[in-house]
C-alpha cells in the first residue's frame, strides 16, 4: 500500500477535481442525533465515500457514507455523513482518515456528536452534554508517527464550549457538561466497568469520537463535541440496554441538538 501521504494526495486530487476549489471552514461529523442537520445544508457537492480513492467505507447499516460539501448558517462546511468506528475493525489511521482530508481542504473547526451511556447520576436519558474533556481508554491513538510536537492539552476548545453554553441558554435548551470516556466496545459495559469509569472521573461512556478529536486537535482544529445520553450506565440499578430504545432516544434528542448546532455555527467567525 502506498504511504499515507501519497494516498492523501490521491484522495485530495479526486476531491478537488469534483468540488471546484470549494473551501470549507468547518468540518462536521454527523454522529448520532446530528443526521438531520443535513436538511439545513445548502448542498453543493456530495461524494460517496466509495468513490473517493483510498477513503474507508462505512459498514454500519443505519449509516450512509457521503462526504458532503455545502454551506450551513452562512459557513462553508465539509460534512461526514456516516463515520468509521474503531470497533468495526478499522485501524486508527482509517478512523481518522477523513480528518486528514478535512485538514488538507483547509477546515479548522470540527463539530462532532455521539451517543453515550451516562455514569454521572445527575444525567438523564435524552440529555445533551458538551464534551469538556475525554479519557482515552481505546488503548490506541491516531497520533503515532511523524508527529514531533503534540499540542493536545486542550482538545476541546474553551471558546467553542462557551459559545455552546451561551447558545444553549439563549435557546432554552438544557445542556450538561462533562468528561467523555471511550472504551473500545462493541460489547456494552459491565457494571464493574461503569463503576470504574465513574471513579476515574468520566461522566459518560462511548465508543467513538476520541480518535477524530485527537487528530484534529493535533492539527490545530477547534473541536466542539456533543454527546447524547441514550442509556444509563448506573452500576447499582443497571438494566439491560435495548438498542431500539437507544435509537429512539437519539431520535427524540435530534431536533434540539440540530437546532443548537445550527445556532452555534451562526456564531462562528468567518475566517
Amino acid at each position: 500500500m502506498p504511504s499515507i501521504f501519497t494516498r492523501l494526495d490521491e484522495s485530495l486530487e479526486y476531491i478537488n477535481n469534483k468540488i471546484n476549489s470549494f473551501k470549507p471552514q468547518i468540518g462536521i461529523i454527523l454522529g448520532t442525533g446530528l443526521g438531520g442537520l443535513v436538511k439545513d445544508v445548502n448542498i453543493q457537492y456530495s461524494l460517496a465515500y466509495s468513490s473517493i480513492p483510498h477513503f474507508p467505507v462505512s459498514t454500519v447499516e443505519f449509516h450512509h457514507g457521503n462526504l458532503i460539501f455545502g454551506s450551513i448558517s452562512g459557513k462553508n462546511a465539509v460534512i461526514m455523513q456516516g463515520r468509521f468506528h474503531y470497533y468495526e475493525g478499522y485501524s486508527m489511521e482509517e478512523v481518522t482518515y477523513p480528518i486528514r482530508v478535512m485538514h488538507k481542504l483547509g477546515a479548522n473547526t470540527l463539530l462532532v456528536s455521539n451517543a453515550c451511556g451516562a455514569v454521572n447520576p445527575l444525567f438523564k436519558r435524552g440529555d445533551l452534554m458538551i464534551m469538556r474533556d475525554h479519557i482515552n481508554f481505546l488503548f490506541d491513538t491516531p497520533i503515532k508517527r511523524n508527529h514531533p510536537k503534540i499540542k493536545n492539552q486542550q482538545v476541546y476548545n474553551r471558546e467553542l464550549i462557551d459559545i455552546a453554553e451561551v447558545t444553549a441558554l439563549e435557546n432554552e435548551i438544557p445542556v450538561r457538561k462533562g468528561v467523555y470516556c471511550s472504551l473500545t466496545g462493541p460489547t456494552l459495559e459491565t457494571r464493574a466497568e461503569y463503576r470504574m469509569v465513574r471513579k476515574l472521573g468520566g461522566d459518560v461512556v462511548g465508543m467513538s469520537t476520541i480518535p477524530e478529536a485527537l487528530l484534529s486537535g493535533f492539527f490545530g482544529f477547534k473541536v466542539l463535541g456533543f454527546s447524547i445520553i441514550t442509556d444509563l450506565g448506573f452500576p447499582d440499578t443497571l438494566k439491560p440496554a435495548v438498542i431500539e430504545e437507544i435509537i429512539e432516544t437519539a431520535a427524540q434528542a435530534e431536533p434540539k441538538l440540530t437546532l443548537l448546532m445550527k445556532k452555534i455555527i451562526e456564531k462562528l467567525l468567518n475566517e
Binding site: T187, E193, L238
Partner: protein, 276 residues
C-alpha cells in the same frame, strides 16, 4: 457466510464426526491445562487442538491443549472440557481466542464454566481460596468482537449486564454455603500479561474496583455473552497481589496455593454440574 463462521463450522464438523456422544453436551468447562480436578472426570475421548481443523490458530508455540469428551465419575453428566486454552499473551488474536467458544456454541453448548488461576488484589482474600466471579473489567485494550459482526453468531452491541448469569451465581453460592466452604465474590480484572504486576499497577487495579485478576477469562466471557450462552466463572487464587504487601512471586508456592484451591473445588464439581 463470513469467513469467521466458515472456520467455526469447519471445526464443528470435525468435532461432530469424532464425538463419542449420541447427544451433544450442553455444558462446557474451560480450564487451564491439567488442573487436578480434571481427574474426577472419565475421559471418553480426547482431541488435540492442533488436530482440529482448520487449525488456523497459531500462537507463539504449538498449543498442547486437548478437547475432552468426558463424563463426571458417578454422574450422568456428559460434557465437553477444554483442557488448556488459547491465551492472548501467547500471541493469539482476540478472534482466535474466541473461536473455540463459538465452536462450542455451534456444537449445542448452552452453559460455559470458566476456570482460571487468579491473583488477588482484595486484601481480605487468601491464598488457595476460590473466587466466585460475578463481573469483570476489561483492561486488555482489545475485544474479540472488534471487526465485522456476524449476525448469525450474535448482535453487534451485546448487553453485559448479566455477563455472569446471576441465577447461576445464586445457585453456586448456595452450594458453597451448604458445604460450608468459604468463597470470595469477585470482580475479575482482565489484563494482557504475561509479565506480572508492579506494585503501582496492583494499587491502581484495586482502586478501580477489581478483586482478582487474570489474563484469559475476559475475551472468553465476551464471546460467551455474544453467542447467548450462560456463564459461571471461578478463580483459583494462587498469588497475593495486595499492593502494600507485595512480595516476589514464588512459583512453587503459587502452584501449592492453586492445588489447594483445586482440592477445595473438586468435591463441589458434581453439585455445580447438577445445577447447570
Amino acid at each position: 457466510m463470513t469467513e469467521q463462521k466458515e472456520i467455526i463450522l469447519e471445526s464443528v464438523k470435525y468435532i461432530k464426526q469424532k464425538s463419542p456422544f449420541k447427544k451433544s453436551p450442553s455444558i462446557a468447562l474451560i480450564t487451564y491445562k491439567d488442573a487436578s480436578f480434571l481427574r474426577e472426570f472419565k475421559v471418553i475421548k480426547s482431541l488435540k487442538y492442533p488436530d482440529i481443523p482448520p487449525n488456523v490458530l497459531t500462537g507463539s508455540k504449538v498449543n498442547e491443549g486437548e478437547l475432552l469428551f468426558a463424563t463426571l465419575k458417578g454422574s450422568k453428566h456428559n460434557l465437553l472440557i477444554m483442557n488448556g486454552r488459547y491465551n492472548f499473551y501467547e500471541g493469539y488474536t482476540m478472534r482466535q481466542v474466541a473461536h473455540p467458544i463459538y465452536t462450542l456454541r455451534e456444537l449445542g453448548v448452552k452453559t460455559v464454566v470458566l476456570i482460571d488461576e487468579v491473583g488477588y488484589l482484595n486484601p481480605r482474600f487468601t491464598d488457595g481460596g476460590i473466587a466466585l466471579i460475578y463481573d469483570h473489567i476489561n483492561l486488555m485494550g482489545d475485544n474479540p468482537l472488534i471487526g465485522e459482526n456476524d449476525e448469525t453468531l450474535g448482535t453487534r452491541f451485546p448487553d453485559m449486564s448479566n455477563a455472569y448469569d446471576y441465577l447461576l451465581y445464586d445457585k453456586v453460592e448456595k452450594i458453597f454455603l451448604n458445604r460450608k466452604i468459604k468463597f470470595y465474590p469477585s470482580v475479575y480484572l482482565g489484563i494482557t500479561g504475561p509479565e506480572t504486576e508492579t506494585e503501582a499497577e496492583c494499587r491502581f487495579y484495586r482502586e478501580i474496583g477489581s478483586d482478582v485478576l487474570g489474563y484469559s477469562l475476559v475475551p472468553e466471557n465476551l464471546a460467551v455473552v455474544h453467542s447467548q450462552m450462560k456463564c459461571a466463572a471461578f478463580g483459583m487464587m494462587s498469588r497475593e497481589l495486595v499492593a502494600d504487601r507485595l512480595s516476589e512471586i514464588d512459583v512453587e508456592e503459587q502452584a501449592k496455593n492453586r492445588i489447594k484451591a483445586e482440592k477445595t473445588f473438586t468435591p463441589l464439581l458434581k453439585d455445580i454440574l447438577s445445577i447447570l
